[in-house]
Amino acid sequence: MTSVPPMPPQANDVVVEVKDLSTWFDTGKQVIKAVESLNLTLRRGRTHCIVGESGSGKSITARSILNIVPKPGRIMKGQVLLHGAGTGRDVIDLAALDPKGRQIRSVRGRDISMIFQEPMSSLSPVHTIGQQIMETIQLHRRIGKKEARERAIEVLAQVKIPRPERSIDAYPFEFSGGMRQRAMTAMALICEPKLVIADEPTTALDVTTQAEILDLMKGLQQRHGMALMFITHDMGVVAEIADDVTVMYMGEVVEHGPVNDIFFAPKHPYTQRLLASVRALERRSHRAGPAPKLSNDDAILEVSNVSMNFEARRRFFSRTPKEPPVKALDDVSFTLKRGEVLGIVGESGSGKTTLGRCVLRVLDPSSGRIVFKGRDAEPVDLAALPKSAVKPYWRKMRMIFQDPFSSLNPRMTVFQVIAEPLLNHGMTDRRALETEVAGLLERVGLPREAMWRYPHAFSGGQRQRIGIARTIALRPELIVADEATSALDVSLRAHMLDLLLGLCREFDMSFIFIGHDIGVIRYMCDRVAVMHRGRIVEIGDTDTVCDRPSHAYTRSLISAIPKPDPRLRGKTQRIRYASEVEG
């Protein structure tokens, strides 16, 4: 682990300068000022972190820099100056260029590249990962196909995709959320651009992988003097890597400065609140209180010896022998008691989502038992039920999806999305539905009016909250929350967690809480299970697992957690888990 001394700012170091940028969405009935009079300077070899509440315009800022604002958005005024572009080291104003013109195209991907926030939808579903990565480099470098492929495999390895030679020919839908995100990262880094804009690039990653990715970026920064604009909600990450920090709120910059100033002398109330939440998340939630006495016989869910394989996709007419199936789950067993919050952490691609989906029988496990005992009901083995018989249980068990965007029907308004489960379970009166939906939206911190908009018109965090609202609408007995708060800024995250916990206690709900943010797990969970390569390697009380981990993998995981304190940067010792790199 190397610690990088921040480069001192120099005048000629400026890569991109954003001046007085305003991006508005004119929907015909109203004007949404997503970004307003924003100023930003990104320098060579420095990392600029952008934090801010969900929906404050971070992603739109990022897009504005590349001049790819989605319709009906428009850059209303301001400049995005790229320094040292081309041979003449000229300054060009990207905002003034024709968004489809040649000039800006040569900048995109080569000088400035971007990692999008939602990795699933940002990859073409019908092209292999390899094709999409290779394209970028072939586009900007004179390079042969074979060489490009080698390069792509190399980058995939760098972003810690296991077996890159094989994964390069996989399709996005065969990747786990974290793997997709890393593929996006690979795509952005392959050309070694001057500036990388990373929009929450580690939300779907476990801390160890996240650490690797951050290391990778730092390495590149050192070698090529790459500038990094890093949008994140994770103050730990900020503390870990940021040189400068900008805090956004409601489309405007409310505060910016070197990282230490922001952490230790926050001026704006939002920043102060943010840091307070970070500190709150260091501890166990006050609302969790002493864990209620849970007796073993009141288990709501008993999972025993569940395995799940994905058949390897066979190539067309390929003569190579059939590849072994991917063992996504390997003999997993655990018990969830009523009212308990079980955290599941683990490496990206270790089978967490798969486990969650198997529990709900969205996926069919290959073997094992999943016994669910509803309130006032006989226990049933979900794994043995025919597919059609599972449906009634979905009222009691619900799921928050990992990728909020793809789980929201793009053609339904938020109202329709949230009302859907209510409607299907007997609530038909429109007025009542409206009140109910409005109530739910308020609980997750969205205005009542949001219900008339379509999902695509929200920011990533807003969408995630819509997903949460839908899930809690029915007051289920069990919720599988798959990275439920990863896209939320810390202050909001704390609230969301409190909301979930409150519900947990109020209605005696149980949670399976999938995450990789140990802080969140610690805050939220009664017990934690650690997954690695489809197995549960360790399970126990949160405190025990976090403070005295027994399995080597768990230890490496805990050690990789970034501390939200810039002073500690580089001081903690990361432990590497040996089998992790075997690839």
Binding site: M250, S407, E420, P447, W452, Y454
Partner: protein, 385 residues
């Protein structure tokens, strides 16, 4: 930090509200309507469609003559110009619509009537003119007034020309509207419903059901249409009245028509059913039809709309093709297809192009349907809201 789980930090609410300002809680339909109204061509087309519908519904009243009334003197008469203003006795212009008469001579070797406009003869044209009594809506009641026509019963008026028997094209097209539009709409609606249901089930369920439905589709598709039409139409009981034959033909057309759609929809369903939002809908407890229709189908409405706006002319034309084969609709029933079929000979192409006016009607109807389709599509498209 607040303690209630149901509330959110104070600062939060205004923030979001500011980014997403007030929007009145109009229903989604209203929103779509607003959106739709912005699409000017779609709005114009809606009026055109409404007009066509009115023509179809009130064709007896709107057509100046009976579609089968013939005037030997005016075979292949070209369209007359409608003059709105006339000079009265004092020589000043007054609003008094009229058409000029024709001088008719017969050309010997060519055996045709040659029409020259006779400026001196004026046949006044008026609104709500008297006519021979005619049955309205299949004899529900009898009327003796036409919306417009020559003021004096029996005067010639061929605004769109006359056909080979001296029948008024305008009246024939007007009557044809009813049959053609209904055959198109009914047929398309039928095949659409079949296509979505069966294609949806096939793609959504997969497995055995899919296999069976696919084989059935394959089978129906492999029946060559022309021979099948010939066979079925010829096998229709011979004593059926034309109207019953017409319904049977609609049915036949749509029973064949659904398969294409079903195949395409199945393809979309196959790729859609793994999407998270479909899984989410299932977890929400939505019933299968609801998932198919409410959640998945809208994702390819544009495809469906495109298909439908293509299917309607196809239906109208299929009926024409039937007429070409000597099957289809029979006189005295008049449809656009029948009219076009009658016009499809060299004689009409060379000497009587106005006989293709029904084709213009088809194009207008189809264009209007399409633009309305576009408008609907856009209105339903969340990315444009």
């Amino acid at each position: 930090m607040t303690t209630s789980p149901a509330t959110v930090p104070e600062a939060e609410t205004p923030a979001v509200a500011a980014v997403a300002p007030q929007r009145d809680s109009a229903s989604q339909w209203r929103l779509m309507w607003w959106q739709f109204r912005r699409h000017r061509l779609a709005m114009a087309s809606t009026y055109v469609l409404v007009f066509i519908a009115i023509v179809g519904i009130f064709c007896e009243f709107l057509a100046p003559f009976s579609p089968n009334a013939f005037t030997p003197r005016y075979t292949y008469a070209p369209p007359q110009r409608l003059h709105f203003f006339d000079r009265d006795e004092a020589g000043s212009l007054v609003f008094r619509p009229y058409v000029n008469g024709y001088k008719v001579t017969i050309e010997q070797t060519a055996l045709r009537r040659v029409f020259t406009v006779d400026e001196t003869v004026k046949y006044p044209v008026g609104l709500f003119v008297k006519s021979d009594p005619y049955p309205m809506w299949g004899g529900l009641f009898t009327l003796e007034t036409k919306l417009f026509g020559p003021v004096k019963k029996g005067d010639p008026m061929f605004l769109l020309g006359a056909d080979r028997l001296g029948r008024d094209m305008l009246s024939r097209i007007t009557y044809g509207t009813r049959i053609s539009m209904s055959i198109g709409l009914v047929g398309v609606a039928l095949s659409l419903v079949l296509g979505i249901i069966l294609g949806g089930i096939s793609g959504y369920k997969g497995g055995m059901i899919d296999n069976v439905i696919q084989r059935v589709i394959e089978f129906i598709l492999s029946l060559p249409t022309t021979p099948l039409w010939l066979g079925l139409a010829a096998a229709m009981p011979n004593n059926w009245p034309p109207l019953r034959i017409y319904f049977a033909i609609t049915l036949i057309l749509s029973l064949i028509g659904w398969t294409n759609l079903a195949r395409v929809i199945r393809g979309r369903f196959l790729s859609l059913r793994t999407e998270d939002f479909v899984t989410a809908a299932r977890l929400d407890g939505a019933s299968e039809p609801r998932i198919i229709f409410r959640h998945m189908a809208p994702s390819f409405v544009s495809h469906i709309i495109a298909e439908v706006s293509l299917a309607i002319p196809a239906m109208i034309l299929a009926e024409t093709a039937l007429s070409f084969l000597g099957l289809g609709l029979q006189p005295p029933i008049v449809s656009w297809g029948v009219l076009l079929q009658e016009a499809q000979n060299i004689r009409s192409i060379v000497t009587a192009p106005w006989l293709f006016a029904p084709g213009v009607a088809v194009v207008i109807a189809v264009l209007a349907l399409n633009f309305v389709g576009d408008g609907l599509r856009d209105a339903a498209d969340p990315y444009r809201q």
